[in-house]
Assembly symmetry: C2
């Protein structure tokens, strides 16, 4: 029993209750304000965070042996931060030593500690924004929101699901069965037992937003966790782990319940960790090559949740707001330069064009309007940098260069003016035929999109849903003024496992996934094995142990 | 909308509600009477079932091409029943044709149909008893209870879990977010989408009890199901599928929502079915060799739930009822000749013996008393046949013969007198040293048990729990009058993932697992990947599809 953990549980009890209710109602809910306002976070918070970030640069993040780390900001500067690195055996031994105390903690105490961690991460969102911006290349506003409050909401969502699942298991039961004249009586005791050490393998584009669901789902269900960040984006998860360890220690639990396992591209740890017998759960966000290796190597024996690659489609049938369609879709293409797992890549369009409130628009007119909307959005270089951010991985620039030959260029990609230190690239938009599956039929990660000429709208829908099923997709977008077409689209994408948005013309974008309301990833196509935000995501992180003994009547 | 399905839902609504409540309270609950009483099932039910069974023998079960089937009763007679067999492509094509209508059915209607199937299976429990007895070799009473009402309860339990999980997803939600002065409004729609065709691979010892959880969990979550029975135990699942198809057709759904896929040892279908892209879920009960193949081949890509092999341990520390201990344990060893997945194999005993209410008992005295208790239990041949049943697989007799050389024979195995037509074998009990891990350290399926001499009780517990973790175990039994020792045992077996029974001396046996109260299989050791009776078992049989569109304020 930890008085501190109990205090955390009481302090955050109302938040947890609201979160659990929100899971069911799925209306708007957020526990962590997304507005980077001084009124909320403190007037000096931004300046202090910038100073704190500057103070981290060029030195070890913490003392310890085997310092590793070579993060480079996509915005230019080398971070020069190194992190103490442990080998697999040491990491596992420490996790195993810490695990029993955490497994024995009351679920409500574990939840209280998780919510205190999230609360402190929220308080430090301005520092997290710097860390996320300068590892992922996100613009500052996105780095703040997606790296901070939105990621924290995803963590809270996982804790809420875990508490829901755990609450379904009674601590004890009296079992009384009449067998003829005899009454058989048993006293039974149940307990949720964590499955084993959780391994969270982070990604380079959304290290916190994609990492927190697995981290907090495993923690809340009683598993110790090893967090293996992507070598290009260690700092956001290092800050996270530091906060988690501080809260754990304060509450009287071993800090090693959460450990950071930084590595290098030359000596990667992920496969050795994943294969280790002590690891019971693996959460992975990253490319399909390692995802496939995980599925084949540990998938049948351990709990494995992956988010891999997908090709998100758009189907244009008709619209009542052509300008809004173009503006909204241009923003989705430009936002963080197509480096979101939810960003659209393939825009399927009838060869005969589409009906709009501005009259009929041919395939070419549509392409021109969309290109113009991107141009307009990015006309101001400062705004362009904020929206499009920087390119996380240099290989993406090579991919853009190679993609230019794949179709007719409707809009070329170019660096953002005035961002000479940064690695930037605006959207490349290409027109191709439906038959050019070699061009559009695979994921081309980054600011690369295709306008695909299809026989008609139903052919467009069939190609879009078919590619989602076959190659994976997390989101889909359709524009139509025809209810019957929307119904067909809903059925097709439900089956294909892509979250569908319809007729977005305003301030909501297909790229956005709202915690507590939207289900992120379906597990029903190759984009990932699991939804990150449903009961199944947490329900297998523990097993239920039971003991029964005869009772006196 | 099916009026018949609606009527089924209403007819069985109270049963379903009770079942859902029982999942949570986990006290005693059963919807299907386990007493084979004429008052309950009709005075002529037994005679009619025997006649109906006799009428099935020696002819095709149903018309159709490719008749297969060569079932031999372990009690003697050849059944001579053949079953129409389809190839994989045809089975899958028919399942895919039937699937959309079933996926679109209202969850409450699907549940109503499932409960009507279970209701009719219950009504026909006497016929099922014949079918189970003459394929598995179970004694008649067990064949009735485990093959009939207890299996039906397991099916109902799966439906109840499915309805619980499905009820957590609202059909629609209004999402309203204040963004500055603008209010962003979305209407969202959610639907549970079945993951794909379910494949149930049946076993030869408990074809219904082990098959119904997967069958009904997949059906209730909207998946069409192909049932691939073990070639030695087709009839129980053929009867099940026939009933399911009749109810489906009556309710206006395609009968092919459930199909039987009988095969032969020479041309097995399971691996081709499991690998087929259209199969989304595999439920398997059987040996670890095919279990491993499934885990490695489809485990990372499909939903896979297996129950494989385990070595269930007993730890004897002390007892307040030595006679009761021996009587109870003897029954557990003899019941269905150790062919239950929950039967004990390894009895770990301190070298120095144990304290009992009858004074100190040495290792050898304990062995002699246990052997005598088995002898006493089986002294009457008719009762012996009823308790021990027949041996399902001839290979088990070879295993007994080979096992005699593994230790000192405390009690030899022998055929049951007067059962000349049947394949029977009473328990073989061997004394071995703890070091003889080659003897006791692997599963020896059948009536083979080891009394294992350990340094002391804690060494016994460590060996027992260690082998459960390493080699798998579904159940464990401990006898101790020391509360601290019981606590240590609870912790050890909780971690090892074996369901623990303590101090059983009366009418409850470690082999028994009660629906709605006991969790069967933990998924936490090699005995299986999953619990068959928890939320995780159903939660990943569907994904949640969503569609969202801007709403007017």
């Amino acid at each position: 029993m930890s008085a501190t953990a109990q205090a955390f549980a009481e302090k955050h009890g109302a938040t947890l209750d609201q979160a659990i209710a929100a899971l069911q109602s799925r209306g708007y809910f957020s526990a962590y304000p997304e507005t980077p306002s001084g009124k909320i976070y403190g007037e000096s918070a931004k300046a202090e965070a910038e100073a704190a970030f500057a103070a981290l640069l060029g030195k070890p993040f913490a003392d310890g042996p085997g310092q590793v780390g070579a993060e480079l900001s996509p915005w230019g500067p080398k971070l020069g931060i190194t992190y103490p690195a442990l080998d697999v055996a040491t990491l596992v031994a420490r996790a195993e030593a810490a695990a029993p105390a955490w497994a024995d903690a009351a679920p409500a105490h574990r939840a209280g500690i998780c919510l205190e961690i999230l609360h402190r991460l929220n308080r430090d969102s301005f520092l997290m924004a710097q860390a996320v911006m300068h590892t992922t290349g996100q613009g500052w506003a996105m780095a703040f929101q997606a790296g901070g409050p939105h990621a924290q909401d995803r963590g809270l969502e996982a804790v809420a699901y875990a508490m829901e699942e755990l609450s379904r298991i009674p601590g004890t039961a009296r079992w009384a069965k009449q067998a003829g004249k005899e009454q058989l009586l048993l006293d039974k005791a149940y307990r949720a037992v964590p499955r084993g050490i959780g391994l969270v393998i982070g990604c380079a584009t959304f290290p916190t937003w994609n990492g927190y669901p697995g981290l907090f789902a495993s923690l809340a269900t009683g598993n110790a966790v090893i967090v293996k960040p992507h070598p290009a984006a260690i700092l956001p998860l290092a800050l996270t782990v530091r906060t988690a360890r501080a809260v754990l220690a304060e509450a009287g639990y071993p800090a090693d319940v959460v450990q950071l396992a930084p590595d290098t591209p030359e000596a990667p740890l992920a496969s050795d960790l994943a294969r280790h017998d002590a690891i019971g759960i693996v959460d992975f966000t990253g490319g399909p090559a390692f995802g496939r290796w995980l599925r084949e190597t540990v998938g049948g024996r351990k709990v494995l949740h992956t988010e891999e690659a997908g090709i998100n489609p758009v189907v244009l049938h008709s619209t009542a707001d052509f300008a809004g369609l173009c503006r909204n879709l241009a923003f989705s293409l430009a936002l963080y330069s197509g480096q979101m797992c939810t960003a659209p890549q393939n825009i399927f369009v009838p060869a005969g064009g589409i009906a709009t409130n501005e009259g009929h628009k041919s395939f070419d007119e549509l392409g021109a309007a969309l290109a113009a909307a991107v141009d307009a959005l990015l006309a101001d270089p400062a705004r362009a940098a904020g929206v499009a951010g920087a390119i996380q991985n240099p290989a993406t620039l090579d991919r853009i260069a190679a993609a230019r030959g794949l179709g007719r260029v409707l809009r070329d990609s170019a660096p953002i003016p005035g961002q000479d230190a940064a690695r930037t690239a605006t959207p490349l938009l290409l027109a191709v035929e439906a038959e050019a599956r070699d061009a559009w039929g695979e994921e081309r990660f980054g600011p690369i999109a295709f306008l695909i000429r299809c026989a008609d709208a139903d052919a467009a829908l069939a190609l879009a849903a078919g590619s989602a099923r076959a190659r994976g997709a997390i989101t889909a977008l359709v524009h139509s003024t025809d209810g019957a077409f929307l119904d067909r689209a809903e059925r097709a994408f439900a089956r294909a496992g892509a979250a569908l948005s319809e007729n977005l013309t305003g301030g909501i974008f297909v790229n956005q996934s709202a915690a507590f309301s939207d289900y992120h990833v379906s597990g029903a196509n190759p984009a990932g094995t699991s939804c990150l935000t449903d009961a199944a995501f947490v329900a297998n992180r523990f097993h239920i142990a039971m003991a029964r003994r005869p009772a006196a009547a």
